[in-house]
Point group: C2
Chain length 317, copies 2
């Protein structure tokens, strides 16, 4: 029996662990990402912590898997900037091999999250599934025929950039009306701040939670106020839920997967978002095209990508 | 070396053939479907022609594959009505086994078309592809990891029913703004007829082609008039192309397949439709999400599903 090293490099947090060949977590090490430190800070942190993890175990470590929170060219095993300096076209798997003499595979966090849920979470025993991670942005990963489907340009699963509105806000990708402009954490935050400035009377509780300053409103606070029954916050959450349901229905028409699994901070906020999503899904489902795709929350919570990294490592054993 | 029997049962035409194990067509028999004759007429026609095909060959026929132009429960091998009587929950593969002592597999025409193009047409050497058949309705089939992905409820690839407009016309499926309500042959025909009645001056050539009667306008005539430069017909074709491009872009975001292959009468009308589709695709593509998915016409034309039926039969050999 030997173990593997799994690493999840995210924009706000990073997580590392030793896992056994069954995917059980043996040791964990995690912290906040210091974006300003760029690649150098992250790599030195990884090196220190990986050395410590490996030293604490008396078993051989066989391989390494990494989930990276930014674009990954899977075929060439290169990662790219996630608004953080130094990552441009960086050969991260090669760096692990050079520094730890471990074979290594890297994938982006959406594909890793999909793989994690597929092997160890809500996607166990499915044949096909879609994993969506909804946090500051929206990403997605697809499992089809029991394998991650990455697509021609490593771009399958980009549900954040399907159009859910005829007109809509300009998106960071350059298009208009993308799902990400309505249902991401960033979008919810921006809408809530604007709404709070224009109509403070319907957002009083959200503003209070933000210490009286509309500019301090976060998506998390909007969900909390909505959960407490505030109309303004509920309105914003329902707009996000409606767009999300529309995108999910489109994914169901195209993939008709066994399950759609929702992860990431926004989705993990729970029933405040997911109840209206299910409501809109029921309302818009066509009787002629009944489907039995389950729409559920990620079982592994914030750890789906780390478990996916474990699965990536185990593929190399 | 032995041969297989392939059958394509469509709403307007049916086609049958003997194929060798390489998928080469040896003998062909085809005709128009008499919908009013229902299942009985079709089955008696099939029996007669299959007997004749088998008798004309001196080689053993090993198995049979069928493409069916209506919903197919692939797991249970049952077909369903395509607005034609007698097919409800009919065990078509079983009927072939009972009548010809041939093992048989049935799938719907969209999946069969996808399989045909994948094995013998424009999808050869792809790893993933989407086949769309655009005729009276719009159907689709997906190949992923080299295999047809049918989905949880045999409903994957239903691109005809993704929403391409916030409001939009009521669709036969019960939803609003589906692609099928703008880009199918039926939709193009209905729009052209209404337009011709309201503004005969901009549809003069289309009306002329229809013998002076707006109610005789077909999608085919709209494409012909548009090809000759008529503004009204071009407007309708461009509306269809725009909706189609939007749906294709959504499919590219979700699947990022190697290729999208367009078949069926409307798509096979050629550059009059496909040129503006490519134009809209270029215009709406996001620079941040560049993709290299090819969008091309079906190589096997109207025979994609028949070749798919051949592949279904060969899977049983």
């Amino acid at each position: 029996m030997s173990n593997v090293l799994a690493i999840d490099i995210g924009g706000t947090h990073f997580r590392m662990g030793l896992f056994d060949s069954e995917g059980h977590r043996l040791l964990l090490s995690e912290g906040r990402t210091e974006s300003s430190g760029g690649r150098e800070w992250m790599l030195s942190e990884l090196r220190k912590r990986a050395d410590a993890l490996i030293a604490r175990s008396d078993q051989h470590v066989q391989s390494c898997g990494i989930s990276f929170g930014g674009p990954v060219d899977y075929g060439r095993q290169r990662v790219n900037s996630m608004h953080v300096s130094g990552w441009q076209s960086f050969r991260l798997a090669q760096w692990i091999e050079d520094n730890f003499s471990l074979r290594c595979q890297v994938d982006n966090d959406a594909n890793a999250g999909a793989l994690g849920e597929f092997r160890y979470g809500a996607g166990r025993s499915t044949e096909s599934m879609l994993y969506l991670t909804i946090s500051t942005g929206i990403g997605g990963g697809i499992v089809c025929g029991g394998r991650v489907h990455r697509g021609k340009d490593s771009m399958a699963g980009e549900l954040g950039h399907i159009q859910v509105s005829d007109s809509g806000t300009l998106c960071s990708c350059g298009a208009r009306g993308c799902l990400e402009t309505v249902a991401s954490g960033t979008a919810i935050e921006l809408r809530a701040r604007g709404f709070a400035r224009r109509k403070p009377e319907v957002m009083a509780r959200t503003i209070e939670l933000a210490g009286g300053n509309p500019d301090q409103i976060t998506a998390e606070l909007v969900f909390r106020a909505a959960g407490e029954g505030e109309k303004g916050a509920q309105f914003i959450v329902r707009e996000a839920a409606r767009a999300l349901a529309m995108a999910l229905l489109t994914a169901i028409r195209i993939l008709n997967p066994d399950a759609i699994i929702l992860g990431g901070g926004v989705a993990l906020s729970g029933p405040v978002l997911l109840d209206p999503v299910h409501e809109y899904l029921r309302e818009r489902s066509a009787s002629m095209l009944e489907h039995s795709t389950r729409v559920v929350q990620a079982e592994l919570g914030n750890y789906s990508p780390l478990y996916g990294a474990t699965a990536l490592a185990l593929e190399l054993v």
